[in-house]
């Protein structure tokens, strides 16, 4: 019977896996060129089915059916699952038009599904080993995805770079895990915390064992690569620029969030008791990341690169969660992860839409878009303003919760935490400059006059994201509620 419990609790992943394995076969079946665009329906079905199965999962899976390595029945992992699956849906909707001339489309979707499986495993893991396996599953699929157009130099370069740096970061993470196992005698994340409460010498009187410090630093670097925190960010702009645009969106909106899932789990559950050891380092990481990301983004002329750097900056905002380390901060972090997933994937889908009709992805190519494709330009405007944090859009609400948590925490905690909020706010002002510039190019510069026509799938992908950005912005209550409950699991 136990095996059934296992399978039931892994149902979303199993559905995804089944389809991932079947996709190459579907590719073979849909050889006819006209039917090829229907291929994307299969992964969509898989993603929606996985989402539905997760929503009902809570009803029939008893808590004790949790496997040792992962926990399914909590809202923290559920929230991430929802983010990954939603981003997956937006990306898959935006893909067919973009890759319509490419070969091996079945594998493309198959890799997306596999990457999502890896991400969900990270979010659900309760053990460092499961976490690492999840990171690897999604990592390897992502390397292959960014090199999907292997005959294109840029794409191949991106994949190689991503692979080398990704491999390096995996090695760091694994080394850190082995060190932690050495000092704590367990790889269970909760177990780490328990181990720290017992007076064992490796965390006593506020003095930490050098091994623990080394492991913390290595983990910060390893996960830092995943979330593209400065100074571990060098790969991100090249990969985002070289990868097929929907995949760039996927990496920025989903893959990066997996890094944060890992960060939150390990640092705020496993290592929370040694927070004074790494709090200042994490704060510095956050401030440097957001500032550098924003400053470099200002000078970009390629929209994809600009979005890549903006993504780095957004990672900086999210890193605020670690040094603040309160339930409010995690609520804000989760909320921002959710909204960022929609606005960033939406923005990349707009760029993908431009690429699909062979217009290009430079700032100049956006000239006059307001007249050529009014709805597309409006959606892009919403995404950019939301990224900049202008109310009443989703990005404002989530930044508000996130930054205010730092203000709040500075009263019982260290005073300097308030500077995290101030840095975040100043950076938001800076970011407005380059976001507004794109809007300026779309509406205030004269460009070609011809109307751009898009396929229904792309329109749907952009529309889904845009509607979410507006709806969450105007009525954030229920979403914040969910994030609050999810954050509760971190601190339970």
């Amino acid at each position: 019977m136990e095996i059934w419990n296992y399978l039931e609790s892994l149902l979303p992943q199993l559905i995804l896996l089944l389809f991932a394995l079947l996709m190459p076969a579907f590719d073979y079946l849909f050889k006819d060129k006209r039917l090829l665009s229907l291929l994307a329906l299969a992964p969509l079905v898989a993603l929606v089915a996985a989402m539905v199965s997760w929503l009902f999962l809570g009803w029939w899976v008893p808590p004790e059916s949790n496997i040792d390595l992962i926990a399914i029945d909590n809202e923290f992992s559920g929230l991430f699952l929802l983010v990954f699956l939603s981003v997956g849906i937006v990306v898959v909707l935006g893909s067919p038009e973009f890759i319509r001339k490419d070969k091996n489309q079945g594998e493309y979707y198959s890799l997306i599904l596999l990457a999502i499986i890896g991400m969900t495993v990270v979010a659900e893991s309760t053990d460092l080993i499961a976490l690492f396996v999840g990171l690897e599953i999604s990592g390897i699929s992502s390397f292959a995805l960014s090199g999907f157009r292997k005959s294109e130099k840029r794409s191949a370069e991106a994949a190689t770079k991503y692979f080398i740096i990704g491999g390096f970061s995996s090695a760091l993470t694994l080394f850190a895990i082995s060190l932690l196992y050495g000092v704590a005698g367990t790889t269970n994340i909760e177990g780490l915390r328990t181990a720290m409460t017992t007076p064992s010498g490796w965390l006593s009187d506020g003095n930490a064992d050098p091994m623990l410090l080394l492991a913390t630093v290595l983990l910060m670097a390893g996960f830092g690569f995943k979330v593209a925190a400065v100074p571990f960010h060098m790969w991100a702009p090249d990969v985002y620029e070289g990868a097929p645009t929907p995949i760039s969106g996927f990496l920025a909106a989903a893959s990066k969030k997996m890094g944060f899932a890992a960060f939150f789990k390990v640092f705020l559950v496993g290592l929370i008791l040694s927070i004074t050891q790494w709090q200042e380092a994490a704060a510095a990481l956050a401030i440097v990341t957001m500032t550098v990301g924003n400053i470099i983004a200002v000078s970009q002329t390629s929209i994809k690169r600009m979005l890549a750097y903006s993504s780095i900056a957004q990672a900086g905002y999210l890193l605020i969660v670690l040094p603040v380390g309160t339930p409010d901060a995690v609520t804000g972090g989760l909320f921002h992860i959710l909204t960022h997933a929609f606005m960033k994937s939406g923005a990349f889908m707009v760029v993908a839409a431009m690429g699909a009709v062979a217009i290009g992805e430079r700032l100049d190519d956006f000239k006059g878009l307001g007249r050529r494709a009014p709805w597309l330009a409006l959606a892009m405007t919403l995404f950019l303003l939301s990224l900049a944090g202008i109310p009443p859009l989703a990005g404002f609400a989530s930044k508000f919760v996130l930054f205010s948590s730092a203000v709040y925490a500075s009263s019982p905690g260290p005073d300097w935490l308030v500077w995290l909020a101030i840095a975040g706010v100043l950076n938001s002002a800076l970011s407005l400059y380059y976001y507004a510039r794109v809007i300026k190019f779309m509406y205030m510069e004269k460009g070609p006059k011809d109307i751009i026509r898009l396929t229904p799938m792309l329109k749907l992908a952009v529309a889904v994201a845009a509607i979410m950005v507006v709806v969450i912005g105007v009525y954030p209550g229920p979403v914040i509620d969910v994030c609050e409950r999810a954050a509760g699991f971190i601190f339970s």
């Binding site: 205010s404 203000v407 706010v425 009525y475």
Partner: protein, 516 residues
């Protein structure tokens, strides 16, 4: 009259619906102006009805009456009418409500907003460049400004505050003059940074008060007990900066001339007539009542900045060659009076400050509209190229003269009452220091009369082609005419507005006297 009707929300929704309709017009762009005029016109009508059914000294019989929280010692917080309160976001850590209401301070500005928006829309009747977007954005702007003046929840207030930025950015950037790109982005970034100072202050207030709600009243009441003087000084400084940029106060005024010079005429009217008032309103609605100790500690900073704005703004006007730029700088000078009035912390001074905002809104709208007329007809606003236009366009010259005279404070017109009261209140408090700001009266008269002489009177200019010069069109003359009538009406009977403002301000002044 409006018992049980969420009339404030309806008035805010009207322009929003109008904007959506206008943006969805598609190929029927030419009807956009009608859509805008109808929706903003109905909003104006309703807001006037609200003003007439507003009770000057409200009791429980007033529509949607909300009695201010009791503060002891016969003090209490502002009473509101037409009060609406709905839960918007309620979670464990956040309590955000949709709370709106009017009191004597916000009512004049509320009506001013619907009035100027409607008149600006009429004034733009011949806009042919992308009309549906143009009128749509104007209406969204109206929504934002109206929202700021009625919001009684910090979160809601901030949302409306920021909503104003985007349509203005587009209005300058798309329909603006030659340097519109620079002006638009400067406006956007400059005022956005100021907004962020407000945002941080709001967060600090929320958590320090510990009320778990963003309700302005509850935070202020909790703050009477909780906020230490240091906290108040720091947060007040941040808020004062945030609101002051919008006012604008010297030395944070440099976005204003750029924005005005490049903005289309209707954009300037709304910018100077309404957006600047948001800053002043924020100070008197939020910063001073919530942080009275901070305000008391920093009073001399406010006074010095106010006087610097008054004098420096006036002197800058003397040096301008561009008619519109001159009017823009004059706004800095005149808004300085608002700050000066507030800084006295007396009933007289604060009433004068609020009334000056109202008066300046009416007068400056006339000035910018007339600059627009000159630009439109003569093709330039450069004073040295103009001259003797009165011969060709007598009505325009008359209107401009009245506008200039009103702005320099001619008795019998609306600004005189306001500025006189500011001076009076300052004399009451700081006696002969009054001599410093009062110099501005002479400077103001100088630059207005000098500009008038050189542009409208004297021999007809030879520098521009004047053969086709026409007088004002109906859609220009009518709005200006209405405004001039109101300027005269409220100039002769300022108590028509004072009666609304004074009772609310009395509560505030009592609170300041007690809290200091």
């Amino acid at each position: 009259m409006f018992e049980g009707v969420p009339i404030i929300s309806i008035i805010i929704m009207l322009p929003l619906i109008g904007a959506i309709v206008s943006l969805l017009l598609g190929k029927h762009e030419k009807y956009a102006k009608w859509v805008a005029a109808v929706f903003s016109g109905v909003a104006l009508l309703l807001s006037v009805l609200v003003a007439f059914s507003f009770m000057v000294n409200p009791d429980s019989a007033a529509t949607g009456y909300h009695r201010g929280a009791d503060l002891g010692d016969d003090n209490r917080f502002f009473d509101y009418q037409f009060y609406e309160d709905y839960t918007w976001v309620k979670t464990e850590s956040l309590g955000i409500n949709y709370t709106v209401g009017l009191d004597g301070i916000s009512l004049p500005l509320f009506v001013l907003t619907t009035l100027l928006s409607f008149l600006a829309i009429v004034f733009s009747w011949d806009t042919s460049l992308r009309p549906k977007e143009y009128f749509g954005l104007m209406l969204i702007l109206e929504v934002g400004v109206l929202g700021v003046f009625v919001a009684l929840d910090y979160f809601l207030f901030y949302v409306f505050w920021e909503v104003v930025l985007i349509p203005m950015y587009f209005m300058i950037g798309v329909w603006g003059g030659p340097r519109k790109d620079y002006a638009a982005i400067k406006f956007f970034i400059y005022t956005h940074i100021a907004s962020l100072a407000i945002l941080i202050s709001i967060m600090a207030l929320y958590y320090e008060a510990g009320t778990e709600t963003f309700n302005m009243e509850q935070i202020a009441v909790a703050g009477m007990a909780n906020f230490t003087t240091t906290f108040q000084v720091v947060v007040f400084a941040a808020m004062f900066f945030g609101f002051g940029v919008k006012v604008p106060m010297v030395p944070f005024h440099t976005w204003l001339p750029d924005a005005h010079v490049e903005a289309p005429t209707a954009g300037s009217v709304l910018l100077a007539g309404l957006l600047l008032k948001m800053g002043g309103y924020g100070i008197i609605r939020v910063a001073i009542p919530t942080l009275p100790k901070g305000a008391h500690e920093l009073v001399y900073v406010i006074v010095i900045i106010a006087i610097a704005s008054i004098l420096y703004g006036a002197m800058l006007c003397l040096a301008q060659k561009d008619l519109k730029k001159m009017v823009a700088y004059s706004s800095i000078s005149h808004m300085g009076f608002v700050l000066l009035g507030f800084a006295t912390f007396t009933t007289l001074g604060i009433v004068a400050g609020v009334f000056q905002m109202f008066a300046h809104g009416l007068v400056t709208a006339v000035l910018f509209m007339m600059c627009g007329v000159v630009q439109h007809k003569a093709g330039t606003r450069m004073i040295p190229s103009l001259g003797g236009l009165a011969k060709k366009m007598p009505i325009a010259a008359t209107m401009m003269t009245i506008g200039f005279l009103a702005s320099l404070g001619l008795p019998g017109l609306v600004s005189f009452a306001a500025e006189f009261m500011v001076f009076l209140s300052m004399f009451d408090k700081w006696a002969l220091w009054l001599f410093i700001p009062i110099i501005s009266v002479a400077i103001t008269a100088a630059y207005y009369l000098w500009a008038l002489q050189r542009s409208m009177f004297g021999p007809l200019t030879q520098k521009i082609d004047t053969s086709h010069l026409r007088d004002v069109d109906w859609f220009e003359g009518v709005p200006v005419g209405i405004l001039i009538a109101l300027i005269a009406l409220f100039g002769v009977f300022p108590s028509l507005v004072f009666q609304y403002i004074t009772p609310s301000v009395e509560w505030l002044a009592r609170l300041l006297a007690g809290g200091g």
